[in-house]
């Protein structure tokens, strides 16, 4: 259990210096800021590469201010990034255009390579933005921000329950896996993997049962269909300053590269 917790906080919790100016910002300012940064990056292309550089500089500055080290960013980003880059890596071989080079049986195109670089840059900037948001903002605060930003409440509540019960389900899965291994389960061919299917269905039934019990527990404490609101968020001057300092240079570079001759 202790191992699980350490692993979780390493990958999920708030990291860096919890008293940094970035950590103390209103979660809505951070959500808006990182979404804006991602949108600016996504709107750029290989030809407008200075935009990627500007985004990277802003991310590095935010990480520096928050005291979030490269190690933390790398450990968290590598969970998602390889999947995205795996798709992008085929682009140079399948996208034709510009100069083409032959490498054995494969052909690599210039346009394909440019697209690969641009897609990789966008994916990396988007992922690092999400990682920095997660490292500087507790997940419940992100949920509060989303709720206040009029994201459908059902969606926010579903995410809240998912966050709460993720750890419970992970622990149940771990116990069931141990139970399989303890009885010598060691699949050698595809058919033996059927046991994993049964574990999944048992997990589903248990989770369904838990859902019903949680609902009873909510009713028992006076729940009548509406989640009560506890917190009020207020945007303060540092939040506005953060958004302005982040948005102005990014938008200036983005518009600058469009208008440049």
């Amino acid at each position: 259990m202790a191992g699980l917790c350490n692993h979780d906080t390493d990958l999920m919790g708030v990291a860096g210096n919890p008293a940094s100016p970035i950590h103390l910002l209103d979660p809505r300012a951070k959500v808006c800021g990182f979404v804006l940064l991602t949108l600016v990056a996504v709107s750029a292309s290989f030809a407008t590469w200075p935009v990627f550089v500007a985004c990277a500089i802003v991310l590095a500055t935010v990480a520096g201010l928050a005291g979030v080290g490269a190690g933390v960013v790398w450990r968290r980003a590598r969970v998602v990034l390889p999947l995205v880059l795996f798709v992008a890596v085929f682009l140079p071989f399948f996208r034709a255009g510009g100069t083409e080079w032959s490498i054995g049986p494969f052909t690599v195109s210039e346009v394909g390579l440019e697209t690969f670089v641009a897609v990789s840059a966008k994916a990396t900037i988007g992922t690092v933005s999400a990682v920095l948001l997660g490292a500087t903002t507790a997940f419940p605060d992100v949920l509060r921000a989303l709720e206040r930003m009029r994201v459908p409440r059902l969606l926010v509540q579903t995410s809240a329950f998912m966050y709460r019960y993720l750890f419970v389900i992970v622990e149940e899965t771990r116990r069931m896996r141990s139970a399989l291994l303890a009885r010598g389960y060691h699949p050698r061919h595809a058919l033996q993997a059927a046991a994993i299917g049964r574990v999944a269905s048992a997990l589903f039934v248990r989770t369904y049962g838990r859902g019903e019990r949680v609902y009873l527990a909510m009713l028992a404490r006076g729940y009548r269909g509406d989640m009560p609101q506890l917190d009020t968020l207020a945007l303060r001057r540092p939040d506005v300053v953060f958004l302005v300092l982040l948005a102005v240079p990014l938008l200036a570079v983005r518009l600058g590269v469009v208008l440049a001759p």
């Binding site: 997940f139 009713l219 006076g222």
Partner: protein
């Protein structure tokens, strides 16, 4: 005359027609601490869910001075604090703070008052330090105490605990007992941990096959080996219920019981 629980001929059948409660008669006065003992499948949890109006059977049921019906449900749930067996079912919000404030907010309290109630309730179970933590970061014993705080924050008259000592190591069990002994509320604890029942409750009833089959002073019931064996209950080897020293109930609740 108002009482904590008054059940007469309470019957509940599962959807397949099988009776889970088969005519329960039970009277509990304000201020009492009562243990409901019984083997697995005796109907203990089903009975507990009736006390909060989560299940509705046939027969008469009055809890915390209210007849259980559609009109009284909201008030009933404020007066009866039900603590579930698995704290992971009870603690469903992302942080302890939000979870403990959930009940008071549902009762219509403003956020500042709800937070004050939450702090007070967490202090009563000695978990003040967990205010901003997430439930999954707490140990089983801590989660159980926070689960009790979630209902204490609603200021209930009656505290109903379903298997409070399940899955606790001796230290956590001892801490929980210590916390419960200081809470000045009428208490009904469902359990098959007989020593725990003996240490907390003066009175005990045995529930078997959906009926109350024995009712009396806890140490007398637990001293009757034949009775316990008949209903698949057993004291740990060497445990003598006569030697149990129970901490006196807090003054406020002792007065309530005698008035």
């Amino acid at each position: 005359m108002s009482c904590a629980v008054d059940a007469r001929g309470l019957v509940y059948r599962y959807p397949n027609g099988q009776p889970a409660l088969d005519g329960i008669d039970l009277h509990v006065e304000h201020g009492e601490r009562i243990a409901v003992l019984g083997p697995n499948g005796a109907g203990k949890t089903t009975f507990v869910l009736h006390l909060n109006g989560l299940l509705r059977g046939e027969g008469e049921l009055e809890v915390a001075g209210l007849r259980v019906d559609d009109d009284s449900l909201h008030e009933l749930r404020a007066r009866v604090g039900l603590v579930f067996q698995d704290p992971d079912d009870q603690l469903f919000m992302p942080t302890v703070r939000e979870d403990v404030a959930f009940g008071p907010l549902n009762m219509g309290l403003p956020a500042a008052d709800a937070l004050a109630k939450a702090r007070e309730a967490l202090a009563a179970v000695r978990m003040e330090g967990a205010f901003e933590r997430a439930p999954h970061q707490l140990s089983m014993g801590e989660r159980r105490r926070v689960a009790i705080a979630t209902v204490l924050a609603m200021g209930p008259q009656l505290l109903v605990l379903d298997e409070p000592s399940a899955n606790l190591d001796p230290r956590a069990r001892h801490d929980l007992l210590d916390v419960l002994e200081r809470i000045d509320r009428t208490m009904l604890a469902v359990t098959h941990d007989l020593p725990f029942a003996a240490e907390l409750c003066e009175r005990a009833v045995i529930l078997a096959r959906g009926r109350i089959v024995a009712d009396g002073r806890c140490e007398e019931l637990l001293a009757d080996d034949e009775l316990l064996a008949r209903y698949d209950l057993e004291l740990p080897a060497g445990f003598d219920p006569a030697l149990v020293t129970r901490r006196p109930r807090p003054d406020s609740i002792a007065e309530l019981a005698t008035s």
